[in-house]
Amino acid sequence: MSAVLRGPRDGIKVSLMNPAITPPAPATPGDQAPVDQVGESAVPGGPARALVQLRGAGVRVGDRMLWSGVDVVVGAGEFFAVLGPNGVGKSTLVKAVLGLIPLAAGTVTVAGHRPGAGNDAIGYLPQRRSFDPGLRLRGVDVVRLGLDGNRWGVPLPGVRRFSARARAAHARVHEVIALVDATGYAHRPIGQLSGGEQQRLLIAQALVSQPRLLLLDEPLDSLDLPNQAAVAALVSRICRQEGVAVMMVAHDVNPILTYLDQVVYIASGGATAGPPRDVITGPSLTRLYGTPIEVLSTSDGRLVVVGQPEVPAHHHDRHQP
């Protein structure tokens, strides 16, 4: 029973990487056309609030389209989830928003601009990171690196006495550590903390530069269930309190389902976006996958995605680090 409750990841059995199901190419293939941001948007809230916008976006890996036709608008302060089975390219979508990989088709804008590395408006938490147990650096130091680790020079000891900026930085680090409830262990070596404790400090690190968008790549992965619930609630609280838009990659929607505003569900080649109750439905996913899929709702409100049993093999469990 508990295996069934894992949700979308294990439920859907389809050939994920089949190039044959690649949908029709977007109107402007290989498009690098200028981005006109102030355009039309069908999403409630309008384009003025759009923080992240992907239009007809597609990414190519080698000669194969990983996904394409992705239309996504994330408004300011929204909690947005990127869903889909393993290996479909969810992390790649995050990297496209970060500007770390180019799009093969369509456009992406972040706060109206083309994405690029070193964007202070984005706080990023990559997938499955844990620190070497022997790393002798405190949690507070790791959080601090998120604030000024990209600057030249070295921090001088005692500079706080003379510099208002150093005092402000110090205060900001402690404020954000308090926000994620990590004050109790932020001064211990980070390698000795538990996965959940490290994850909170890493969220603090992503938040410390006061970004408008948090990109969280599977932050609940490798946490136990109580910690999954706690970190999901924490992220939702940050989203509401601080007005930070959150774009979270997840392979199991259930821990965050009650907090979500919008989701995009990526399948091989295609994608469908909207409010979770519209997207994670039998008909919607059946249309997306082109194979009969059922979405069951348990008595406690959890969603279980059940797909057609499929012949073995063809399970490309590729992890893109």
Partner: protein, 299 residues
């Protein structure tokens, strides 16, 4: 080698001030202390980052590469100093060029690094043999010597060390970010790959400098041990760096002082003091960590 007409068989008295003054009576000893001090500071600072980046094996290899550098330089008749730097930096660039290398802990990098290390030792001995007849300094090149440090060599050590420390100060914060958290650092616009190459070159410079005092094989005494000891004692980066340099200076000075009164090589003393420091620090950290468990154990 010993030019001064002073006492050639110094004896240790109970008057420490007089003993220290006696040590500094000889110009070669003064040069040894100067060189040791320069090298200890540089090795401490660079070694701290090396330990944090888990690149100790690479550091050791760069030090071993200094051996064929020195013998090769002697073979063609240029100062050994140049050979140390030229070979170590070349090896650093080679290691950096390995595809997928330059980062940390890649097995590919380790394999290439090991290969370079073995080749370096072999080449060094080839050069010794090619030199033919008489290269008396082989032991000194491998295990260290402080008697032959010239004033000119001290100047070169100082100039190179100052440049290296300034470079490290410039990239320090970005290097730490790239070392601890390369993925996020790259997303924040930190040039992780370039920093990694730059650090390898700084590491080569430090290894080449240390090798001139402790010998190629005992570079670890100053490059790894002080940093590893300090990181055992504290997780505060600034304090940890300061403690690293202090430990490096202490074991160098005490090593030189004791070696002056003993017929045995300095490399042995520096290494032994370094090892003893590391052992006591580890023991202390272990003891300090233990009482936390006690309240849970006692009823």
């Amino acid at each position: 080698m010993i030019t001064s007409g002073g006492e050639l068989n110094p004896t240790l008295s109970w008057n420490l001030v007089q003993d220290v003054r006696q040590v500094f009576e000889f110009p070669f000893m003064l040069n040894a202390v100067r060189a040791g001090t320069i090298v200890a500071v540089l090795a401490g600072l660079i070694g701290w980052f090396m330990v944090a980046r888990r690149q100790s094996f690479t550091g050791h290899t760069l030090a071993v590469v200094a051996f064929p550098g020195a013998t090769g330089a002697i073979l063609i008749g240029v100062p050994a100093s140049y050979g140390y730097f030229a070979f170590a930096i070349t090896a650093a660039v080679l290691i950096a060029l390995v595809p997928g290398g330059g980062g940390r802990g890649h097995s590919e990098e380790s394999a290439v690094t090991g290969t370079i290390q073995a080749t370096a030792l072999a080449t060094g001995f080839l050069f010794v043999n090619l030199y033919g007849g008489f290269l008396s300094g082989t032991n000194a090149l491998l295990f260290g010597s402080f008697l032959a440090v010239t004033t000119g060599q001290v100047h070169v050590l100082l100039a190179v060390a100052v440049a290296a420390v300034l470079a490290l100060a410039l990239i320090g914060r970005r290097l730490l970010f790239a070392s601890v958290d390369p993925v996020v650092a790259a997303a924040r616009g930190v040039p992780v790959r370039a920093l990694s190459v730059a650090f390898l070159i700084l590491l080569a410079i430090a290894a080449a400098e240390v090798a001139q005092i402790t010998g190629s094989l005992l570079v670890f005494a100053l490059l790894v041990v002080p940093a590893a000891t300090a990181q055992t004692l504290t997780a505060r980066p600034a304090l940890s760096l300061a403690v690293t340099v202090l430990i490096g200076l202490a074991i160098t000075w005490v090593g030189l002082f004791v070696a002056y009164y003993q017929p045995y090589p300095i490399g042995f003393f520096v290494t032994t003091f370094a090892f003893a420091t590391y052992l006591s620090a580890t023991g202390w950290a272990h003891r300090r960590a233990r009482p936390r468990l006690r309240p849970a154990l006692t009823p």
